[in-house]
Amino acid sequence: MLRISASTVRDRWPLFAGALLTVALGVALVQSSVLVLVSTGEPAIPPGTSGRVAEQIREGYVGAATLLGMATPLAMFLAVFIVGSTFAFSVEQRRTELALLRMLGGSRPQLIRLLLGEAFLLGLAGSAFGILLGVPATWIQARLLIGIGLLPGDFSARWSNGMLLLSPAVGIGVAVFGVLSASYRAARVRPLDALRNAPRATRVMTLGRWLWGVSSLALTVMLVVAGHGADLLGALLVAMAIPVFGSVALSALSPLAVPLVGRLLGTVLRTSALGELAQANLRDAVRRSASTAAPVIVLVGLLVGLTGALNSLARATGADLERSTAADLVVASTGAAAARIPRIPGVALASPQSQVEMSVTARHRVEHRSYRQTHHSGIIAVDGAAYRRTHRLTLRSGSLDALHGRTVAIGPGLVGEGVRDGTVTARIGPHGFTLRTVARLPEVLENGSDNFLVPRDLIPTAMLADAPTETLVQVAPGTSPHAVADRIRAAGIGEVRTLRQWADARVQTQQRGTTGIMAVLMGMSGLYAAIAVINAVVIAAAERRTEFAVARATGLSRSQVVRMAVIESAAVTLIGLLLGTLVAAAALASFYAGPAGVHVLSVPWLLLGLLIMASLAVTAAASALTALTATRPSPTALVAARE
């Protein structure tokens, strides 16, 4: 069977080219992610680095690993999806050939083996390309993670020979997994189909397709319902799962939507003869239409859904930050300069928050487990009373007014980590001492918020003077914040921002990693979708040569045939865009009501617009080119040809 598989792949490579490229790209991405991931396992911390910087480097590595861990499965999902839809379509195209094998004595298991054999070879070839492609991909990925500040500039990923095992396993796995359902469809081809000249009108909505589509849809609906009352984190998780299941559901069920939307478009299309023909073709070739629409659904659903969810999360974090901070201006400066702020005219209250170089060791208790951990970053020296007045927080316990001397408050960053009341040990330079916990702050939405608050009088003056400090400033009633900002700037104290600017910048810094990975993911999925769409259009055009020729013999000019094909593929793309937007809307539904009552939904309109334009352009160009190629020979030659 493998020999027949091999000769089929060799002979019909255009049918497999798209799938091959998909596998190669998938392997390259997984390989580069894993190599970077393995290399981030042991953060290289230069000797002589302070505890705080070292911890920040470590956190960056963890952040990079998290992002890669998110992006890799999504890329795998896309690769399996594209390979699956390519093969499903190719089985349809090869119905006669498969039926012939059945006629010559091939059994059902043999046909399944044939397709799995093809997938194996495809996976092997794709892996070979993928391993080579993975070398530059690793470099690009490392550069990207350095560029967004998660990894230090001297980071480089090491090659591991394990990749020679892992990459082919991934490639073959993706290909075989993608082909499974197509191979079972192939096994259902009846020997009699070899004797029918025209491809028999087969039922598009098979039982398997129904089951697959309906169960995915049910899961999606359940997720939407679950996301309705969820908190922000829940909403985010739901928004990440919905694009996957929703796209699968609507792709499987798209043959139902095609005629429906076709009828809707019909009112527009029917005005011209070409449009009417295109609409009829659309209705007639439901399977072909579904193959073109599926990648567009996934592309739009995934990208718009995920981007919208992440943007909404950022917006919610920003809103939360603004809501909980009672200040007009935020000044970034050194500790020494910050000390001058209260003397500026118009400043009613200044609350300095300085990052200090010290370590705090606390006992964590999480679910019957207890461990000690030393923290170097997120330790902020504050004026307890001023902090309380510039932050609208309901403390979990204690009072910030007691934050004097050898005391500490547990910050929002660690409250969820099981640090309880009691004492912690701290160390500044060579001196160690014990701090008594006087307060515990509530959790906030923001990621990477402060771990510990310590009183300013605990810190040596010289150290405080050098510490990077943010000062929250309230201006006196009746004073213009703008004028006060000018005065602070004129005094040369530091950078002054309004509360909103500060909150936006802070959220953006935290989102930079996600944004970078989203960019990579968008590029990948855009490329995948383009491959899949072009693949579907090109494969379909081959079977339509005769159909086009008949249309021309009936009196259509060549350019009319091309226009008909373009109208048709544009309509199919619109269907895909519509269904994809539906998936994205479902993913974002839980943000609409706004967890905690805040309106945080942020729809990436620009991205949606770009996707619409790009999808329409790619499908129109692909169908125009293939229709031109297919109509090059004289129509009479093709109409007369039997096959």
Partner: protein, 254 residues
């Protein structure tokens, strides 16, 4: 299912590789129902060549499909190579196709990516055997294409492709060879070669052949002709001439 004594011999001892007893095949339901075959009983005797003829839509293709186990019958019984296939499973039918049945098609249906030799070896390989090159070359030599083994189908003429297809069908030494318009896509010269080849197989090796055709000349090469009309057997001819066949056919179509 009762078989009338007149239609067949004792059950289990078939005298012929293909027997149909009161076979009906309906498509669709209700008002649009089509009776492609209605109560057809026919026996294709061993070592003989029978042509099935009839106007378009007379049911001749359905008859071939039902006899070969490619299509299910609505009522009646089908015996193929001594086995009742009326309710056979897909696996049983697959086994029959491997050892008892060969097919030749109008449009040859060779696999374009395989050479002539590989095409001929394919049924044996599908059946799990390791065909020797000599077997395959002998099969090709029998159809006069010993020197074309390494060629791909697209490098062969239509007549040569059909002969490769016949070699492929015969390589498993089937009990019966089903041919669906085997000369339909060939010029007169190639058609004559193919018909002579089939004749020799019947005369020399006692091969049973069932052939559906439109062509009175092709039908005249057969030992007997069965005429179908509206899904029923309308007429039979033994040792026909092309003129006789054409005349009967015209009468049926009129």
């Amino acid at each position: 299912m009762r078989a009338p004594a007149a239609a067949g011999p004792h059950a289990g001892v078939p005298a012929a590789p293909v027997q149909l007893y009161q076979v009906s095949r309906h498509y669709g339901a209700g008002e649009t129902q089509v009776h492609a075959l209605a109560d057809v009983s026919v026996t294709f005797p061993a070592g003989s060549w029978t042509a099935v003829m009839g106007p378009s839509g007379s049911g001749k293709s359905t008859l071939l499909h039902c006899a070969a186990g490619l299509d299910r019958v609505t009522a009646g019984r089908v015996l193929l190579a001594g086995q009742d296939i009326t309710h056979a499973t897909d696996a049983e039918l697959t086994r029959l196709r491997r050892r008892a049945v060969g097919f030749v098609f109008q449009n040859f249906n060779l696999i374009g990516s395989l050479t002539a030799e590989q095409n001929v070896a394919l049924p044996l390989r599908l059946a799990g055997a390791r065909p020797s090159r000599r077997d395959v070359q002998t099969a090709l030599a029998d159809v006069g294409l010993a020197d074309r083994g390494r060629h791909r189908p697209r490098e062969l003429s239509g007549g040569q492709q059909q002969r490769v297809a016949i070699a492929r069908a015969m390589v498993t030494r089937p009990s019966v060879l089903f041919a669906d318009e085997p000369t339909g896509a060939l010029d007169t010269g190639s058609a004559r070669t193919v018909l002579r080849l089939l004749r020799r197989m019947v005369d020399a090796a006692g091969q049973t052949v069932v052939m559906v055709t439109h062509d009175p000349v092709a039908a005249a090469s057969a030992d007997a002709v069965v005429f179908l009309s509206d899904g029923r057997i309308a007429d039979r001819l033994l040792r026909p001439s092309a003129v006789q066949v054409a005349e009967r056919l015209t009468r049926l179509e009129g």
